[in-house]
Point group: C2
Chain length 299, copies 2
């Protein structure tokens, strides 16, 4: 019996696939082939060349996909799983899609809940990393930051996701830098730790973000930071503002090493300890947990 | 002796000029001819046709200008007046520019200070409206909202501006609607009061703006608001968030009637009374105060 299968993280901007042998990842591929770049919603045709080398060796490999591929804009919309929920629940709510080459294929749902501020909140993709974190590091309670375009602060109870809050940190950074007065006439930004630190600190004394953001302009006008430092300052301001919402002094952080490092640098200034776990590793563990729970649904 | 002169508010996006006879406005002109639309910084050439009809009747009319025309990107940079300061101080710090047709011309400086959150803050143009408000409605203390792209909350002591806080309300609204996921695939927005009210209210329970903004997406996904209501919801959220920073229950509001009405609607939900004064009227009174204080500097 062939124990190979493929775990796929297909988001708006990026595509990653992991060739699995039972619960081990034995190969991976990534491409800037996000959902938005797929012409005419031909997801099947876009997917095939990305995994063709693996299919050549193992025909009809089962596929398990997660991320925005299960959204309205994706291959097929899969209704959100309502929190609290754990891996078993997500395994029950996968949706089947048909591939032209005969691979059985299922998409895992995202999660929805009510956040700490009484507002509805949603995620697609991060729920897999949370399930994978709980599988790798079992404990009674996790507080977890998943940094990114739409950062998530989640709480786990054993292996169940209880609730989470979204912060639009990465997207606000990008749109303010590229489309607002703050980013006007800037040179190529360079990573600058002193400006980043200043941003993190100022976010603590200036609690209203729409006010604090303007300091990226006034500090440049006043010569406190220069034009090449504005991006780092803005990054510090937004990450510092996000971390100000965290009531714990210790949390896990699950993401890319570069972005996690940035958050850890900010957190250390605020007396917060972040334990970093690789995002891909959590994704693989989470997908494996769900795949094993599917219990022959692919048979 | 000819008592005519011209007061000009020249900003990044708009141009307005008021023909004055002593302290009375007798005519006005406005044009979408902001500084950014002036080719090759030919401000002199851009200005002449806008006021030519007045110059034909009153040659060499003195000009007093305010707004971004005095910034680095404007006709001539005029260093900020440091707060606290009143009309007299602004009259002392005007800068002279030369016009090709012989009109004497001066630009009023903007104001800089340290805001309530310890950060440097700047304004160009709003200081005139504040001076004009104090001239029209003298009292010991004013708390004033000047809504706009970069809203200002200022405090006046008699006729002196003490300090102020900027909120990037209008610009965040525009960039998030036009460039972020929140504004993606929306129909033409329509003014919707129920969505606006919901936004104002949600801003009170969700104090972290980068978190609260995401609800413009999740409430649409959940069918609580529809796509055509997203813009009104976002407006309510941002204005509600700005007003949450106001510690007073009564304040003046100086701006365009349409924008002021929107703020008053939000404020009434929060138990805040706003007294509305027309922005143009404040601008004219403020410029007149400074012009009279110039005391023959134009002679």
């Amino acid at each position: 019996m062939d124990n190979h299968w493929i775990a796929i993280d297909w988001g708006t901007s990026n595509f990653r696939a992991f060739l699995m042998n039972h619960n081990q990842c034995i190969d991976s591929v990534s491409a800037h082939c996000g959902l938005l770049s797929v012409p005419n919603r031909q997801f099947d045709a876009a997917l095939l060349p990305l995994i063709a080398p693996w299919l050549a060796q193992h025909p009809n490999l089962p596929l398990l996909m997660a991320g925005m591929v299960g959204s309205q804009q994706g291959w097929q919309e899969v209704p959100y799983v309502e929190l609290p929920a754990g891996g078993q629940r997500f395994a029950q709510q996968t949706a089947q899609v048909v591939t032209s080459w005969g691979s059985p294929c299922r998409i895992v749902a995202g999660a929805c809940g009510v956040n700490d501020f009484g507002l509805p909140d949603v995620m697609r993709g991060e729920e897999i990393q949370l399930i994978g974190l709980a599988a790798q590091y079992p404990q009674e309670r996790h507080r977890v930051i998943l940094p990114g375009t739409h950062s998530k602060h989640a709480t786990l109870d054993h292996d169940r996701i209880l609730h989470f809050n979204t912060f639009m940190t990465g997207e606000i950074y990008a749109v303010m830098l590229n489309h607002s007065l703050l980013g006007k006439d800037l040179p190529e930004p360079r990573e600058d730790n002193s400006a980043f630190v200043l941003g993190v600190q100022n976010a603590q004394t200036a609690p209203y973000l729409s006010n604090a953001l303007f300091s990226a302009r006034t500090l440049k006008l006043g010569g406190v930071i220069n034009a090449a430092q504005v991006a780092s300052y803005l990054s510090g301001l937004l990450i510092g503002s996000e971390l100000a919402a965290l009531s714990e002094t210790q949390a896990w952080i699950v993401g890319s090493p570069a972005l996690s490092e940035r958050y850890m640098r900010a957190a250390s200034l605020l007396g917060i300890t972040l334990i970093s776990v690789d995002g891909d590793s959590c994704f693989i563990h989470g997908m494996n947990k769900i795949y094993q729970s599917l219990d022959g649904a692919f048979a």
